[in-house]
């Protein structure tokens, strides 16, 4: 890859980071909301829900990786979709007339959005530990966090190439992303789902991201970890190429 492409990826990333640091109130909101979920839902249902096949894991332990995934994915998807804002405010034109490949632009955007999402994810992870979640290992979870961030940004970019306005974006967020996260086993295990829900969960790529993260963080997983990893990696590469293809094809 040419040096210029790397520089473009870097500067796309750096721009997102600067905006992140400057938008303090939004950042706090992005962290506080999932923490509320974790604290209230987790603590509230802790005694109600019994996990199949595990005695020493509480519902809070189960929920924490789900909430971390959810926050990473929402935040990343949003970073991808926010290309709509760049289009609306004209900045996208500046990016698109530059002699830089569309793939680099998509990668830069994905890394920028992904980094922001990961920082938020880690903060929530630390808060979970403070809330008493018994984390087994952090290091093996990192690839899953990175991959789920990239998948979600790419997904967001794909949405942004289809919808030109904010209403369309709201609709897709509520009708597609939210159900996908609900069915990703972020909130409840796959084992206890009714049969038809199980099928939906198993074809949902986010399930493997959440399961992989939970497996590596807590040692509690439905699929073998390497299966999770390979599926998420494949989906990530597919989404990256598809989104840069769509992005390349779309006109201003």
């Amino acid at each position: 890859m040419k040096l210029r492409e790397l520089q473009a990826i870097y500067v796309m990333w750096a721009r997102q980071m600067k905006r992140f640091v400057r938008a303090k109130s939004r950042v706090i909101g992005n962290i506080v909301q999932p923490v509320f979920f974790l604290a209230f839902l987790g603590m509230g249902l802790n005694k109600v829900v019994a996990l199949p096949g595990s005695e020493n894991l509480t519902y809070l332990d189960f929920l924490a990786p789900g909430i971390i995934s959810m926050s990473i994915m929402f935040s990343s998807a949003f970073a991808g979709i926010s290309i709509i804002w760049d289009r609306r405010f004209g900045f996208l034109q500046e990016v698109l007339v530059a002699p830089v490949s569309r793939l680099s632009i998509v990668i830069g955007r994905a890394l920028g959005g992904g980094t922001v999402a990961l920082i938020q994810g880690f903060i929530i992870l630390i808060i979970s530990i403070l809330l008493g979640v018994k984390v087994k290992a952090i290091l093996p979870a990192i690839p899953f966090m990175i991959l789920s961030a990239l998948v979600a940004v790419g997904f967001g970019i794909m949405i942004a190439t289809f919808t030109k306005d904010f209403q369309g974006f709201q609709l897709i967020m509520n009708l597609l992303l939210f159900p996908m996260i609900l069915l990703s086993s972020a909130f409840f295990p796959i084992d206890t789902m009714p049969c038809w829900l199980k099928v939906l969960s198993e074809i949902n790529p986010l399930t493997y991201a959440v399961d992989g993260l939970r497996g590596s963080l807590m040692g509690y997983n439905h699929f073998p970890l390497h299966v999770d990893f390979l599926i998420v990696l494949g989906v990530c590469m597919g989404v990256m190429f598809l989104s840069s293809y769509l992005f390349n094809r779309s006109e201003i």
Binding site: R19, E94, P99
Partner: protein, 310 residues
């Protein structure tokens, strides 16, 4: 090689709106080419076609010999653009916007530092360079965008209504930058505008566009000459007598009424002293003289039957 060359360039939206209709034009290197037309004429669409943001429905266009569809990245290396709507990141500072641009165009660290200082100086934004663009006035944003557009030393610069919404002073400043860029850096400039005066003052040649079609392309003076001569109106004590004298020269009298004599002529400003002189010699007292030179508004009116602004 031509800086810009199009052949039957056409863009339709949704199969019905023909925004750009078989446009043929060719712009020489080093030229300031004015693209004059009312709102909705197809100026912005043409700019987006030439800058690779839109794909032509049919026809072709080349920038510095590179095709805007098949050699898009080559074209992108050659051009700079100031879009009609601001295309700045308002959450970044002016300097950060420039730095973003410099890196996207692959400038080295040394080049970046030099060019950023140079362009900031040129557009007088050194003092405000480290403020968020959000706090800039419309004129400052425009200046920053112009600065940014030629940082990477493009061969061809596209300016889409660069003075839209600016007050008279800011507009004048922008005009000066445009002239300097063209003279000092030798950049070819493609300038769209719906201000007759702007096209007239800045352009070497002007294309008049209406409903996506180019009506005429020529030097501003030629365009004005084409549609008619200057008109001199003289109020004086003996218009009939003055008429007789004047008709012996090459001046063409249009009419006399009461104490008014109307003369149609080329280079009116050069004929006025002569008229005054002969009037004095013959004891005719001149009360007032006015000269109306046809402007591009008249040219537009001539070709379309309607006013440019309306």
């Amino acid at each position: 090689m031509k800086a810009i060359e199009t052949h039957n360039l056409t863009k339709t939206f949704n199969g019905v709106i023909i925004a750009v209709d078989r446009v043929n034009l060719s712009v020489e290197e080093g030229e300031i080419f004015g693209f004059l037309g009312p709102n909705g004429a197809g100026k912005t669409t043409t700019v987006k076609l030439l800058t690779t943001l839109l794909r032509p429905t049919s026809g072709t266009a080349k920038i510095c010999g590179y095709d805007v569809v098949r050699q898009r990245s080559k074209v992108r290396e050659k051009i700079g653009v100031v879009f009609q709507e601001p295309a700045l990141d308002t959450e970044l500072t002016g300097r950060e916007n420039l730095d973003f641009h410099a890196r996207m165009y692959g400038l080295s660290r040394k080049e970046r530092e030099e060019r950023i200082e140079y362009v900031l100086n040129l557009v007088d934004l050194v003092d405000r360079a480290d403020d968020l663009v959000r706090s800039y006035s419309g004129g400052m944003k425009r200046r920053l965008e112009i600065a940014r557009s030629f940082m990477h030393s493009p061969k061809v610069l596209f300016l889409d209504e660069p003075t839209l919404g600016l007050d008279a002073r800011a507009r004048f400043t922008v005009w000066n930058y445009i002239k300097r860029l063209n003279k000092e850096e030798g950049i070819t400039i493609f300038l769209t505008t719906h201000y007759m005066e702007e096209a007239d003052k800045l352009s070497d040649r002007v294309a008049i566009i209406n409903n996506g079609k180019i009506l005429v392309i020529d030097e501003p003076e030629e365009l004005k000459n084409r549609i008619g001569k200057d008109v001199i109106s003289i109020t004086c004590s003996h218009p009939e007598k003055l008429r007789e004298i004047v008709e012996r020269t090459d001046l063409n009298v249009v009419r006399t009424t009461n104490n008014l004599l109307v003369v149609s002529v080329n280079h009116g400003e050069e004929k006025i002293p002569m008229i005054v002189e002969v009037a004095n010699e013959n004891g005719i007292r001149i009360e007032s003289i006015s000269l109306h030179k046809p402007n591009l508004d008249d040219v537009f009116l001539h070709y379309t039957g309607r006013k440019l602004g309306g």
